[in-house]
Symmetry: C2
DNA sequence: TGGCAAAACCCATCTTCATGCGATTTATTT
DNA sequence: AAATAAATCGCATGAAGATGGGTTTTGCCA
C-alpha cells in the first residue's frame, strides 16, 4: 500500500512539481493537491492522507492556521511545513501550532522522501537552519538583556514559581522590605508593573 | 587545517573507539579524550577544540552540568551530546543548558561526521527521536489536563500576559466579579493560590 | 421537563502587592 | 580617599488580589 500525500501549496508551479514528484515516486501516491486550505478538514476526511505537505504562506488562510485546525480534530496526522525562508518569523509559530517537520523549499528535491519516511517513523525532519532555530528558542539568552544583578535574578526565579514576598524573605533570610526593593528594581528593568507581567516576561524570554 | 574534536566519555571502550574513529578520519583530529569533565574549562582552553563530544551521563559531574559550565565562558563552541537512551529525561535539560546537537550512540558510527559537519555549518544535528521530543516539548498538550472550560482558558490566557481583573473585565465585557469567579475556579482546577503560580503553571505546561 | 454545568453577577473581608521616599552597609573601582 | 553599584532595611498609603459566602440565567441532554 502506497503512502498517501496531501499537498497544500498556492504557487501553481510548485504545486504541480510537488504533485508529479510524489506521483512518480514508487511507494508514494498523491492523494490531492490544493492551492489553499479553506476546506482542509473536509479534504483530509475525504482523502485520508498519511502525510500532509503544507506551504506556510498562503493567501486567505495561512498554513499555520491550517495546522492548528488540523490538530483540533487529528492529533497524530504528520504535517510537514514547506517554506522558502529559514528566518521566517512564522517558523516557530508553526511548530508550536503542531507541525511535525519543517523543510526549506531548496531541500525539497533532495530530502522530501527522506523527510516523509522519517516523520512516519516518529521523527521530526527539519532543515539544519530550522533545527538550529528551534534549539536556540529553548536556550537562555547568553547575554543579560535587562542587566539584572545576581540577587535580582535569584529573586525573579523564586518569584516565578509563585512565592509571596513573605516566602521569599524567609527563603533568602532578608527582610520583606528588601524583597520589595529588589522587586521594584526588577520591575523598572523589565518595564513591568506587576508580578504576573514580570513572571510572564521572565518565563517567555527564558530569563529564569 | 583539520577540525579538532575534544571527547568526554567515561566508558573506556567507547572513548577509545571514538578516539580512533576521529583520529582515522581525514580532515579531523583528536584534540583530547577524557573520562570525566572535572577539568573541562582548562582542557578546552588548552586544546582549543572546534567541536566537543560530550557523554550525558558521567560520574562526578554530568555532561549537562559541563555544558552549562562551557556556556558560561564560551557561547559558540558547538557541543554534541551523546546518549544511549532517547527517553532519557535529561535530553531536554541538556538542550536547555546549551547543547548544539544530540546523537544517540547507536547512530554514532553512521552519523558522527555528518553531525559534526552539520553543527559547524550552523545546524543542530539530532537523532530523529530526539528531534521529535524537542518539537513535542514546544507543543500544547492535546488533551485538556485540568478540565478548564473555554471561558476559563480565555481568561487564563489574558491573565498570563499581565492583565488586571479590571482590564480583563473590560476586555470580555463582563463584570469584575465574574472575572473573580472564573479565576477562583481556575485556581481550584490548577491547585494554585495566586496569579503568579497560575501563570507560571500555565506557561510552563503550555496551557496558554 | 427536571437536572446540571457553564457563565454571569454581587458583596464583604482580609491579605498581599505596588510605589514613593529615605537610609545604611559593604565591596569594588578609580 | 572618594565614588559607585549592589544589597540591605524601614515606613506609609492606596490599589489589587484571594476567598468565602451567596443568586440568576442559559443551554444542553437524559
Amino acid at each position: 500500500m502506497s503512502i498517501k500525500i496531501l499537498v497544500f501549496e498556492d504557487n501553481d508551479l510548485l504545486r504541480e512539481s510537488l504533485s508529479s514528484l510524489v506521483a512518480q515516486q514508487t511507494g508514494f501516491a498523491l492523494a490531492g493537491a490544493y492551492p489553499n486550505v479553506l476546506q482542509v478538514k473536509s479534504q483530509i476526511n475525504q482523502h485520508q492522507p498519511d502525510v500532509v505537505l503544507m506551504d506556510i504562506d498562503m493567501p486567505g488562510k495561512t498554513g499555520i492556521e491550517a495546522v492548528r485546525e488540523i490538530r483540533s480534530f487529528n492529533t497524530s496526522l504528520p504535517v510537514i511545513m514547506l517554506t522558502v525562508f529559514d528566518d521566517n518569523i512564522h517558523v516557530l509559530e508553526a511548530i508550536k501550532a503542531g507541525a511535525s517537520g519543517y523543510l526549506l523549499k531548496k531541500h525539497i528535491s533532495s530530502k522530501l522522501f527522506d523527510a516523509i519516511t522519517e516523520v512516519l517513523d516518529g521523527g521530526a525532519p527539519m532543515s539544519p537552519s530550522i533545527a538550529r532555530m528551534v534549539i536556540g528558542s529553548m536556550q537562555r539568552p547568553s547575554e543579560n538583556p535587562y542587566q539584572l544583578t545576581t540577587r535580582e535574578r535569584e529573586i525573579l526565579n523564586v518569584l516565578s514559581t509563585g512565592n509571596s514576598y513573605k516566602m521569599i524573605a524567609a527563603q533568602f533570610n532578608i527582610s520583606i522590605d528588601t524583597v520589595r526593593t529588589h522587586i521594584k528594581k526588577i520591575y523598572e528593568k523589565l518595564q513591568v508593573h506587576s508580578q504576573t507581567e514580570a513572571v510572564s516576561k521572565a518565563i517567555n524570554e527564558k530569563l529564569v
